[in-house]
């Protein structure tokens, strides 16, 4: 199959006056892992929901495996061919994890292989546990197990590691590698840089319902990450026009970060000179090579860390 596994074209989704998705287009080649990276509320989940038929586009087209998820007959056929892990599905509190897996096996018409699945997601000793007593990470792994229940061509994971500990993440990453080896197509949303960088063949950076950039992690870093990143703590520091042009700045409390274009030594000099002029001391200064997060910041003007913000420039 040479055709795209998923093809989204000029997708718009409005909820009343709110535009959640504002003209997104992308194609996902079969057998690749595609990531939508962005902050909460960027429109990633809404985009995914239109791909799996949970939400109809306001305008634009979506095709998954050549089928239109908004069309009833196509949706019925599609459901057998996609595996889905959704954010925050709450199941009955008094259900046991093992019972849920058995039941979903019946829903998907497959022979229950609960014990094997549970072992894959590290829940083998939790099968008798009530769902209401499971931790957030265990719930996520239980949801992952459901997404892996049947043999599917496309697997959709919405924020698969949100609330997971390192153990859970390692399990998820292992399963993603298995799916990759089996030639499946994967689409996932995430707001973890490390996850996008590590798992995705291709990354779409999404901001305010639009795609800001789309490429491999390495290409995004090369094109947008800048030449170096300077990161320091300084109480009472403020930007002025002379520093503003150095690159994209992000501030979180007393921490400042800028991804610098050009020779980093000059930028460093300018920052130190400015700090001296303000009579502010700089602590914990770090200069490092840019990563995907720096490319993200340069492209969106904001950090994935929801507490960080773009600082205002104070006129000198």
């Amino acid at each position: 199959m040479n055709e795209a596994a998923i093809s989204v074209s000029r997708l718009v989704k409005r909820f009343g006056d709110v535009v959640a998705v504002d003209g997104i287009s992308f194609d996902v080649a079969p057998g690749t892992i595609f990531g939508l990276l962005g902050r909460n509320g960027a429109g990633k989940t809404t985009t995914l929901e239109t791909c799996i038929g949970l939400s109809a586009p306001t305008s634009g087209t979506v095709r998954v495996l050549g089928l239109d998820p908004a069309k009833r007959s196509d949706f019925q056929r599609l459901k057998r061919r996609i595996g889905v892990q959704l954010q925050a599905t709450s199941l009955p509190e008094k259900a046991k994890a093992g019972e849920i897996l058995d039941l979903y096996a019946a829903y998907y018409g497959v022979v229950p292989h609960t014990a094997e699945l549970a072992e894959r997601v590290g829940l083998e000793d939790k099968l008798e546990r009530f769902v209401g007593k499971m931790s957030g990470g265990e719930q996520q792994r239980r949801a992952l197990a459901i997404a892996l229940l049947h043999d599917r061509d496309v697997v959709v994971l919405d924020e698969p590691t949100a609330g997971m500990d390192t153990f859970g993440r390692r399990i998820l990453w292992g399963e993603v590698e298995r799916l990759r080896a089996a030639g499946k197509t994967l689409v996932l949303t995430t707001h973890y840089i490390e996850e996008a960088e590590r798992l995705c063949d291709e990354i779409c950076i999404v901001q305010a319902g639009r795609i800001v950039a789309r490429d491999t992690a390495a290409a995004l870093v090369t094109a947008h990450g800048g030449d170096a990143v300077i990161d320091f703590a300084a109480r009472g520091f403020a930007l002025d026009a002379s520093l503003d042009h150095l690159g994209t700045w992000v501030q979180k409390g007393e921490r400042w970060q800028v991804s610098v274009q050009g020779e980093p030594g000059r930028a460093l000099g300018a920052i130190v000179a400015h700090a001296n002029a303000l009579d502010v001391s700089i602590d914990d200064l770090d200069l490092h090579r840019p990563g995907l997060e720096d490319a993200f910041i340069a492209l969106t003007g904001e950090s994935l860390d929801e507490d960080a913000s773009a600082p205002a420039t104070v006129a000198a």
């Binding site: 038929g53 949970l54 709450s90 199941l91 259900a95 998907y108």
Partner: protein, 247 residues
């Protein structure tokens, strides 16, 4: 067939999850009706406790049918939607009605259990005898269940939040039971009000159930009411089908 297997598995799971493992639910659905039977039999009994409980048992069962429809199905669907369980089910390849049907089947099973407990307690303690034709009793119970499940589903279809669905379900269930000849005979109300109360589908259902089960009336005796209940059931189904959303 797979659909049938899912229906059985999900119904069984519902019964275990929402009833057998939920002490509060066991208490409310079994102990409370029996408690009502005792209290009302002694408190409201103008004549003998036997004739009062003969009146009360079909009323209590009828009230449970109302509550199954409004709470057990209607408000539950709204809860399942808000908890995003419905959308997960919607994404599975099984026909969506299977999930709905399993919820109804679970409540029907519970209802049968409730009716059995009330009939047994009534028989042993108050010497009440169910004299009606079992097939006719079953048919009128099924029609009542269909009517109030269908009307309950309207709540689940139109109301978005769990909280309002629960409020609407309780506002409908509790007063309706008191106003529909379930616990208090309608003759005790002033005639003008009584005539209004006789227009309620819940009154039609409970009176027909009582007549058929306890006084041996035939189904055909209630043809008009049965027809009206069918209209309510169809209207409820039409509204639900039009407005119900899985996501």
């Amino acid at each position: 067939m797979n659909v049938f297997r899912v229906l059985v598995a999900q119904t069984r799971a519902n019964f275990v999850w929402y009833f057998l493992r939920d002490g509060e639910m066991i208490f409310w659905s079994l102990a409370i009706p029996v408690f009502f039977l005792f209290v009302f039999s002694f408190a409201l009994g103008g004549g003998s406790t036997r004739s009062t409980s003969t009146f009360l048992i079909p009323g209590l069962i009828g009230a449970q049918v109302l509550s199954s429809g409004f709470w057990g199905v209607g408000a539950m669907l709204a809860t399942f939607r808000e908890k995003k369980l419905l959308r997960r089910i919607y994404l599975t390849p099984i026909p969506s009605w299977t999930f709905f049907a399993s919820l109804v089947l679970y409540r029907m099973t519970l209802l049968a259990l409730q009716a059995l407990v009330l009939a047994l307690v009534g028989g042993f303690v108050f010497h009440v005898h169910v004299v009606g034709n079992p097939v006719a009793i079953l048919l009128i119970l099924l029609l009542g269940a269909a009517t109030f499940v269908s009307l309950g589903t309207v709540i689940g279809a139109v109301v978005r939040s769990t909280e309002s669905a629960n409020n609407i379900a309780s506002v409908l269930t509790v007063p309706l039971a008191f106003l529909s000849d379930a616990y208090i005979p309608i003759d005790r109300f002033p005639a003008a009000i009584g005539n209004l109360l006789r227009l309620l589908p819940s009154t039609h259902f409970i009176d027909a159930l009582r007549g058929i089960a306890m006084y041996g009336d035939s189904l055909s005796h209630y043809t008009a009411w049965i027809a009206i209940l069918c209209i309510w059931a169809l209207a409820g189904t039409a509204v639900s089908a039009r407005y119900f959303r899985w996501v």
